[in-house]
């Protein structure tokens, strides 16, 4: 099993969710986050004073998936979240050791 962690632009969330659902992904965790990467923020003006916005709003997805579809999930997130402009986000894939469905006690792939 793999845990796919992806940061994406907030306005791409719906599109990514739909694409992943079509792929058979049956659940994901979504968090509103702020952070910086290559797109290291910008400046805004408040009452004439400039200030730096160092952290940019993003959406973080955490998706636990079976090994068989992990590559497809990464591919799909990358494809749907891509605008080609700076700040499209990153995808990380981690080895997932264990999973359990709280209600039934099912473990690993049957818990996803």
């Amino acid at each position: 099993m793999k845990l796919v962690i992806a940061t994406i632009k907030p306005f791409k969330l719906e599109e990514v969710r739909e694409a992943l659902t079509d792929l058979g992904v049956s659940g994901m965790m979504v968090t509103e986050i702020k952070g910086f990467g290559a797109q290291s923020g910008h400046t805004e003006v408040y009452r004439g004073a400039e200030y730096a916005v160092n952290f940019v709003p993003k959406i973080k997805l955490e998706i636990a998936v079976a090994d068989a579809i992990a590559d497809d999930v990464v591919e799909t997130v990358a494809k749907t979240a891509r605008t080609g402009k700076i700040g499209d986000g990153k995808i990380f894939v981690l080895e997932l050791q264990h999973a359990m469905r709280v209600r039934t006690g099912d473990v690993n792939e049957s818990a996803l």
Partner: protein, 441 residues
């Protein structure tokens, strides 16, 4: 009644003291200067109340948009009010009240005729004592046009760009509203025909509603509001306490809106009529709110606050065309029908995929049409003339609005891009959040 007369006399005497000092031999009596003074006072005070409706609209809209669009909504509100004030001086007031200066008699008044106030320190002998001071009359009328523009801003919230919206406001408040307003209140062809609209169910509210409807159609719904299969997704507002405050402020302002539209306070009859209007206005709002409260409970198993707020406003719009003649019971049922209209037309607009963020079109257009028709039950009007007025205002405002919206769209675009809309207009268009939590990082 007697007490009222004495108070009126006292107030008039106080206000008239300077003039009496200048002309001691022939101190003018109340009959001479009283009506001028009292009506001017009515316009000032009612004007302050209607002015405060700008705050009501701002709070209602600020509460019903998402927190990421609140700074933008407030910017539009202060911008539209202020532009309306300037445009009404520059063109609007004399275009709407042409007097003898019609270009096309009964249809179009003079363009580019700015408003000029009475001279400083005008004396009783110099003033045209038949009505009220120009300053008070101008101010009272200009706060009405601002209300029309506020109606548009609520319907189009969360997706229209700032400057294209403000350009539309300039055309609406400087030209469109004054021209159509002159047909009725300027003594134009509809007034001649016997159309009856006391404080503006049609002249003000429907006009704002038609302009908003045209804008909402050209602009399209917010992203995510309607699925492809036609399912409606609610987009809840950020602060229902603010929306409620806004509604109460509008309700308060409406006493000026309708009460001031008596346009006279110099006699016992006029003062009594103004108070009669207050009582009826309040009753219609209450009936509209209670109706929506009960109807949403029955239809959806839970009362809906935002619909109840809309119900109160629909009651107010409904009574605006004739707030004087009905009995209190008349005001109750006219307002209640307004509440029914809102509860049924809000979902109806959604079926047509017309996205109206605050319910401005049901409240101001549909209840406005109802209120204008309802004049026939208590007032002096015929159904044919009322319908003719409703249609005339509808055709003119809707068609001209469509043309203006399409022209602005072609010239500079009216809608923000997809990413801006989802991130919120506040940060994307203004770089300023209404509720910053993490801005310094």
């Amino acid at each position: 009644m007697k007490r009222v007369t004495q108070i009126a006399l006292g107030a008039a005497a106080l206000a008239a003291l300077p003039q009496m000092g200048l002309a001691q031999d022939t101190a003018p009596g109340f009959d001479e200067i009283g009506p001028y003074i009292m009506t001017t006072l009515l316009f000032c005070m009612a004007g302050f109340l209607v002015f405060f409706m700008a705050a009501g609209f701002a709070m209602l809209e600020g509460g019903l948009v998402r927190s990421k669009n609140v700074t933008m909504q407030m910017t539009k509100n202060i911008g539209l009010y202020s532009l309306a004030a300037i445009m009404y001086w520059l063109i609007g007031f004399n275009l709407m009240y042409p007097g003898d200066s019609w270009i096309m008699p009964g249809w179009v008044g003079p363009f580019f005729s700015t408003t000029v106030l009475d001279p400083v320190g005008v004396g009783a002998a110099d003033a045209a004592l038949g009505y009220a001071s120009i300053g008070s009359d101008f101010f009272f009328q200009l706060v009405f046009v601002a209300a029309t523009a506020s109606i548009v801003s609520g319907a189009l919230a969360e997706r229209i760009k700032l400057w294209p919206f403000l350009i539309f406001v300039i055309v609406l408040t400087g030209v469109m509203y004054p021209i159509s307003g002159s047909w009725q209140w300027g003594g134009g062809w509809l007034a001649e025909a016997g159309f009856s609209d006391f404080a503006g169910s049609t002249v003000v509210h429907s006009v704002g509603g038609w302009a908003a409807l045209a804008g909402a159609i050209v602009l399209g719904p917010r992203l995510g509001k309607y699925d492809k299969d036609g399912k409606v997704n609610p987009i809840p507002g950020s602060n229902l306490a603010l929306a409620t405050l806004g509604t109460f402020i509008l309700w308060l302002g409406w006493f000026g809106f309708n009460g001031g539209s008596q346009l006279a306070m110099g006699t016992v009859g006029d003062v009594s009529d103004v108070s009669r209007i207050f009582a009826n206005t309040n009753m219609a709002a209450a009936a509209g709110a209670v109706t929506a409260l009960i109807l949403t409970q029955v239809m959806y198993k839970k009362p809906d606050l935002t619909m109840t707020l809309n119900g109160a406003l629909a009651g107010l719009v409904s009574i605006t065309a004739e707030p004087l003649a009905p009995t209190l019971f008349g005001a109750l049922w006219i307002g209640a029908v307004g509440g029914v209209i809102v509860v049924f037309t809000v979902p109806m607009l959604d079926r047509f995929k017309i996205d109206d963020v605050v319910g401005a079109i049901p409240v101001h257009l549909f209840a406005g049409i109802w209120g204008t028709i309802a004049v026939i039950f208590y007032g002096d009007a015929s159904i044919a003339t009322q319908l003719m007025g409703i249609i005339a205002y509808g055709v003119f405002t809707f068609v001209v609005s469509l043309v203006v919206w399409f022209a602005i769209k072609a010239a500079m675009g009216i809608r923000v891009d997809e990413e801006t809309e989802i991130n919120g207009l506040d940060m994307a268009e203004l770089g300023m959040e209404a509720y910053p939590e993490f801005s310094k990082g």
